[in-house]
């Protein structure tokens, strides 16, 4: 019993922090409540469809199912639902008419069942095609629903057309109410979220590298492994950002011009940048493993290499932060480029240093971890350069 109370309190605390983290969630909930209450009242008073309460019900259902967090996904669902209702309803009426021509108690239901089976099976298979699934999954489902409900309904021919038309108009009513409330009251744009997500992710990598530079030096200096959890957690979210990024891109594609984004904003480019960011984050995850590796007392050569590592991580950190900023501001910034140039020069200098024979006296096994870190940082620098290129492409 105590466990249950504890769990409820825990959940409530969670919910509160969810609201604080992103107040738009609270606003969204209020918007949904408002939209459903509004359409329910129309349904209750039923001023338009006198007596046709059953059809008006579709308006409430549409709002519940269609109203999503971002404008893009709401719009996508509305378009999907609208088109699917028209096409499915039209085909359903046609199938119904065709079957009723035979007017036979056996042929008619057989034909109807066969057509429902054929359409449902085919469309269900089409839903597996990745491109269809990404953008039209909901519409395909609604198509099956509308087609089977209308074709199999036992009404007479005229009634069927009537039913299909009232259903369409109530769906439109629900969809437009949802859309209006979604867009007019504190709209959440998926495109903007995507934009911010990509910039945030790049910034997180920058922050990690900055922290890494600090931590790594400290670790080398006093020989203690420091486990800075907060640092670690943040870049981890970048590693697994592919799913959310993909869905935001799909939603953003539905959105009209808003703020600084035009209708056909190059959303695909964000995905490219996101891919490179993730690749870079895998390097950082590898790098992170070396933060915890054993380190012996410092030797001269290691101190020197360490200096280079520090410089490379700081320079790429600055470059990444500047790139994030230039995405945010949607301008081309060449500050990042100069940081990358410095980082690359540092990498070359390091290689030159290693060519000289000053390390002849050191123990190779001792410097392996440092050399590996250096080598990984060189990789990170080249990743950063790739990201910079992609960001510049976006800006132009």
């Amino acid at each position: 019993w105590e466990k249950l109370v504890f769990k409820i309190v825990e959940t409530a605390r969670n919910a509160r922090s969810l609201g604080k983290e992103d107040p738009r969630r609270v606003i969204h909930s209020v918007k949904v409540g408002f939209a459903i209450a509004l359409v329910s009242l129309i349904y209750y008073f039923d001023p338009i469809y006198d007596g046709l309460r059953v059809s008006a019900m579709w308006a409430v259902m549409t709002v519940v199912v269609v109203f999503e967090f971002s404008v893009g996904s709401t719009l996508g669902k509305c378009v999907n639902r609208g088109i699917a209702t028209v096409v499915g309803g039209g085909l359903g009426v046609a199938a119904h008419r065709l079957a009723s021509c035979f007017g036979n108690d056996i042929v008619e239901p057989t034909m109807l069942a066969a057509s429902v089976f054929l359409f449902a099976a085919t469309v269900t298979f089409v839903r597996f095609i990745p491109q269809m699934k990404a953008r039209f999954d909901y519409g395909l489902q609604i198509f099956i629903l509308t087609f089977s409900l209308i074709s199999v309904s036992g009404y007479l021919n005229d009634e069927v057309l009537d039913m299909a038309l009232t259903r369409l108009s109530t769906v439109m009513l629900g969809a437009s109410a949802s859309l209006a409330i979604c867009i007019l009251i504190f709209p959440v744009w998926a495109g903007e979220d995507l934009h911010n997500l990509v910039a945030d992710n790049i910034e997180k990598l920058g922050n990690y590298l900055e922290g890494f530079g600090d931590e790594y030096c400290k670790t080398l200096e006093d020989g203690n492994v420091k486990d800075n959890k907060a640092l670690l957690e943040k870049y981890k979210s970048v590693v697994n950002s592919k799913g959310i990024e993909e869905s935001l891109v799909n939603f953003a594609k539905w959105e009209p011009r808003h703020g600084k984004f035009r209708y056909r904003h190059p959303w695909g480019q964000y995905q490219k940048i996101g891919g490179l960011t993730r690749e870079c984050s895998y390097r950082l995850d590898t790098l992170n493993g070396y933060l915890k590796s054993e380190i012996n007392a410092p030797s001269e050569i290691r101190e020197k290499i360490q200096e280079f590592c520090q410089s490379m991580s700081f320079e790429s950190s600055h470059a990444l932060k500047n790139l994030a900023l230039s995405i945010r501001k949607m301008t081309i910034s060449h500050v990042a480029d100069s940081h990358i140039v410095i980082a690359k020069t540092t990498a070359d200098n390091l290689k030159n240093l290693l060519k000289t024979n000053s390390w002849q006296q050191t123990d190779l096994v001792e410097i392996i971890p440092v050399v590996t870190v250096a080598s990984l940082l060189i990789e990170v620098v080249s990743c950063t350069a790739k990201i910079a290129e992609c960001v510049h492409e976006l800006a132009s």
Copy 2:
């Protein structure tokens, strides 16, 4: 116009390969078609709900919405829908009665709208809580839907209860038809898919490491960079497997005992193994970068290091493949352990080699890439050991 034809042909080819890749998709489509046609016929002949066609419609709707690819997700949706319809309907009837007590043309609709607003807003917010979203998202949506449809319906008190009950029974009819067809005809178990996915992913890493060992040596020998795309593509899918794994775990939790899996099979352990596998795959992604790095003519020391690298990658490859096999067979295999021991010994030997001074004559800058690869492979070996531990835990 030609473009359109090309696109259609292209899509058809895609669809065909989708079906070949996993024939269960075709079977699933046929099952869905069959279920919908069957329930539609019930709706058409309407033997049970004479005259109540409108309610029978809910059966068709339930099938369309609830029938999913795996048993787990279908079952989850059915349970969600069932509970949500009961709770939402019950509360809806209660709200309707309470409001109708006042019998006032202004108070009644106001109360109803207020209660719809409150419930809808609260439940919409609850849907943001990750634990709720993972398992009960659909149920929460249906709760809002049923509650608002029933509470606001303009029927008299007795009619409302009647409507709620017939709706519940038709939903049950649709849900049980879907479940029966889903489970009885070629069932797809999410648990089994999860099990195979985790094993496949580990095997993919093993294959990559085997290929890496070969490729890397060849590259070192003839100095040419080989870009084995097929090799690369496969482990890439492991890197981004988190989303699908999570949803499979959520579905699997709904599934009853089946095959070799009991009801409360430790699905969470699979997630742990999956996490470690992904961590390992990030190391491989980093490693993959070095496959393409410039390599100069071989020197003696590099050849020696290279031998160790080859051995480490082969041993961990064998270990991983054996682990995948032992997951598949659900047995504890100690073959993997012995491979890991050899790999670890190799790593230690390598360290010892580097301690000796035989490398004093070589150019440090030349061996950095090889040393880095060696160092990364040592990390991979320790990752493999972690995976092995986790797999043994699962088996016991």
